[in-house]
């Protein structure tokens, strides 16, 4: 199945006046076979874009839920080759985004990694431990192979840095809703609203970190977000291992109905 580009997905949603649901799961957790089913369940639940984590042994930007998912994936034998093979087998038409850390990309070879990612049908790349200042090689390779390089903006990001990031980012902007690492939380921070209003860009604004319910998704949408990113809440369901696909689909549905509403 031909996969959409991220920009195509957002134009389609814009016409429908819908917000996007971006779902994160760790590829290969608990196994490559299960990842296929998991992705299908998320698509059935209304996922617009799926981020598939490539595990790293030392993920400093992630909380314990995703760190442990990475360890499960590595223990099940995930490596760079298998990751790309797995991506190729996923029979979905929505954009897939690879989220990993810089060392696995660097070690494999930046150019080679991006080329293989493009071949496998990846539309974009998120590397949370590479700030714009260090991202020139990665950006060049992504441009060459038609991948979006998605940057994060945090509540601490200064105006000057926001401008630098806006100049270099593509696909969408990943706004970190609060200080801290990934992980589900109960309230949506007021800094989310502030951050959304500080960032003026033509790129879609996606808010992540700490979102786990439809109500939170609706709040974030109301605050002006074009998309929400949800990870740990899905990963937790996978970790619990009970009725996984049904529960993933149900949670995705709930989140999508929250984000769907026009603001």
């Amino acid at each position: 199945m031909e996969r959409q580009k991220i920009s195509e997905k957002f134009s389609e949603l814009r016409e429908k006046k819908e917000g996007a649901l971006i779902c994160y799961v760790m590829a290969g957790d608990p196994s490559s076979e299960k990842t296929g089913e998991i992705v299908k369940a998320l698509v059935n639940g209304g996922a617009d874009i799926i981020e598939l984590g490539f595990p790293f042994s030392d993920p400093v930007a992630d909380g314990p839920t995703i760190q442990v998912a990475g360890q499960r994936s590595l223990a099940a034998g995930m490596d760079t080759q298998r990751y790309f093979e797995l991506i190729k087998t996923l029979d979905v038409g929505i954009p897939l985004v690879c989220m990993t850390y810089y060392n696995p990309v660097f070690r494999y070879g930046v150019e080679k990694f991006v080329e293989k990612a493009a071949d496998a049908g990846i539309s974009g790349l998120i590397v949370p431990d590479i700030p714009v200042e260090e991202a020139a090689d990665l950006k060049n390779s992504c441009e060459k192979h038609g991948l979006d390089l998605i940057f994060l903006i945090a509540p601490t990001t200064t105006e000057g840095r926001i401008q630098k990031i806006l100049e270099r980012g593509s696909g969408f902007l990943y706004l970190v809703s609060r200080l801290g690492v990934t992980g589900a939380r109960e309230d949506v921070s007021s800094s989310t609203r502030e951050l959304l209003s500080r960032v003026e860009t033509g790129l879609p604004k996606a808010v992540g970190f700490g979102i786990s319910t439809g109500k939170q998704a609706a709040e974030v949408r109301d605050a002006g977000a074009d998309a929400v990113i949800v990870g740990s809440a899905f990963v937790k369901i996978i970790e619990e291992g009970k009725d996984v696909n049904e529960r993933l689909e149900a949670l995705a549905k709930e989140l999508k109905s929250g984000i769907r509403r026009a603001s």
């Binding site: 790293f56 400093v60 360890q71 810089y102 060392n103 431990d129 260090e134 601490t156 200080l179």
Partner: protein, 426 residues
């Protein structure tokens, strides 16, 4: 006004202006060519949320490193709290045995028992000047955690130290020492439960509490500006050695040997000698059981000798990793050297051949541990024992020249249980 102030502080024999001196070396282009880069090594590979904190730290450091008030206060702490300057001790018995003049730089005599306090007190003071109220740190052997706890207690910080759960068990007394000084010790249960995981956890804390918290990194590792800051605070070691050896020998040493995990004691003693090209600088890494790897772990901690270029904990450097870029767990009898990376500047200096990287195995280090205790009445830290082990090897091969300085980075009291357990108890 300014004149009065300047004349008030005792420039002679003090550490004042010496940080600035070390910066001058940097500008002369010996090492860092671009800000925060050492050749291709160094840089800032951290989550976006941390970038403003690194900028703030860099600005703070630039502002205070030449500030007379800051330097006077640092001077006071280094002298009267840490116990500087430390002696350069002529090891008569070792010298006799190896046929060259061997000097030990006695960082084991710094308050707390290791060189770590030089940096901890410097950074804690900097954090105070920058208005931070909370210190976090991570520790493997416990030496850096202890130094942070001492600085934190003295300067009135809330202090939290992350320590791998395995290391808490290995170094119970150090964990207790920190608690006595009011530091909260948090055992880290994730990953391999050692230093690498404690660092990850400290980064997470920092990301979450960035507004009031300074992350007191204990070695010349991490994103810019940490490698510069730690090196500058530690370079007091080398500056003292330079003066002391000139007084004692009237010449530069032929060789300087220091152990290297992250590399802070090595950079500290090497840095003032980098432009003295005739002085051989040797960094000795932990060779562990052997310079080999299993699929998931290295049997050693020798990143300079056997690592590959990579990115770990915010810097591009030499890293122990597999072909997919997953970081390998390291191994060493010495918890303080047990780390999968190394400082980026050291990686660069080793690559351009200014620093020679060597290793000593666990067994060799244990041999040297016993030898120094027996012959000189000084029990060295297991970290420093690696430098001493290489001294033995290289002396026998005649590689070191006539005057040799070994950095005795710490004392061995903390390691007695480890050594005892390896001997099966007595």
């Amino acid at each position: 006004m300014t004149e009065t102030k300047v004349s008030e502080f005792p420039a002679k024999d003090s550490y004042l202006n010496k940080l600035a001196g070390s910066q001058k070396n940097l500008k002369n282009g010996q090492t860092g060519q671009v800000k925060g880069k050492y050749g291709k090594y160094g840089g800032q590979y951290v989550p976006e949320v941390l970038m403003p904190a690194l900028e703030e730290l860099e600005e703070g450091y630039e502002r205070y490193k030449n500030d007379p008030e800051f330097l006077a206060e640092l001077d006071h702490y280094l002298r009267d709290f840490a116990g500087r300057e430390t002696p350069l001790y002529f090891a008569r018995n070792l010298s006799k045995k190896y046929g060259s003049k061997i000097y030990l730089k006695r960082e084991d005599l710094v308050h707390g028992g290791a060189h770590k306090l030089n940096n901890a007190i410097g950074q804690a003071l900097l954090a105070k000047y920058m208005g931070k109220t909370r210190l976090i740190a991570e520790t493997g052997a416990g030496q850096h955690g202890t130094a942070t706890a001492m600085a934190g207690a003295n300067l009135g910080f809330e202090t939290v130290v992350y320590m791998g759960a395995r290391d808490v068990k290995r170094q119970q007394m150090n964990a207790y020492r920190m608690e006595l000084m009011g530091t909260e010790v948090v055992p880290v249960e994730s990953g391999s439960k050692t230093l690498k995981d404690a660092i990850n956890e400290a980064f997470r804390d920092w990301v979450t509490n960035i507004e009031n918290t300074h992350y007191l990194i204990g070695s010349v590792v991490g994103p810019h500006p940490y490698p510069v800051i730690v090196r500058d605070f530690q370079s007091v070691i080398g500056r003292e050695v330079k003066e002391q050896i000139l007084q004692k020998e009237g010449c530069m040493p032929d060789s300087i040997i220091a152990c290297a995990g992250g590399g802070s004691n090595a950079m500290g003693i090497f840095y003032p000698f980098i432009e003295d090209k005739d002085v051989k600088l040797i960094a000795v890494e932990a060779g562990g059981k052997a310079l080999k790897c299993t699929e998931k772990a290295a049997l050693h901690s020798a990143s300079l000798c056997a690592g590959e270029e990579g990115i770990l904990h915010g810097a591009r450097t030499k890293v122990l990793q597999d072909k997919n870029g997953q970081i390998l767990e390291s191994e060493s009898v010495s918890a303080g050297l047990d780390y999968s990376g190394v400082g980026p500047e050291l990686a660069y200096l080793s690559e351009i051949g200014r620093v020679t990287a060597r290793y000593a195995t666990d067994d060799e280090a244990l041999g040297a541990f016993h030898e120094l205790s027996r012959h000189e009445g000084i029990i060295p830290a297991l970290e420093s024992s690696h430098a001493l082990a290489y001294l033995k090897k290289a002396s026998e091969a005649g590689e070191l020249g006539d005057v040799v300085v070994v950095n005795l980075s710490g004392r061995g009291d903390k390691d007695l249980e480890t050594v005892l357990s390896l001997r099966g108890g007595i």
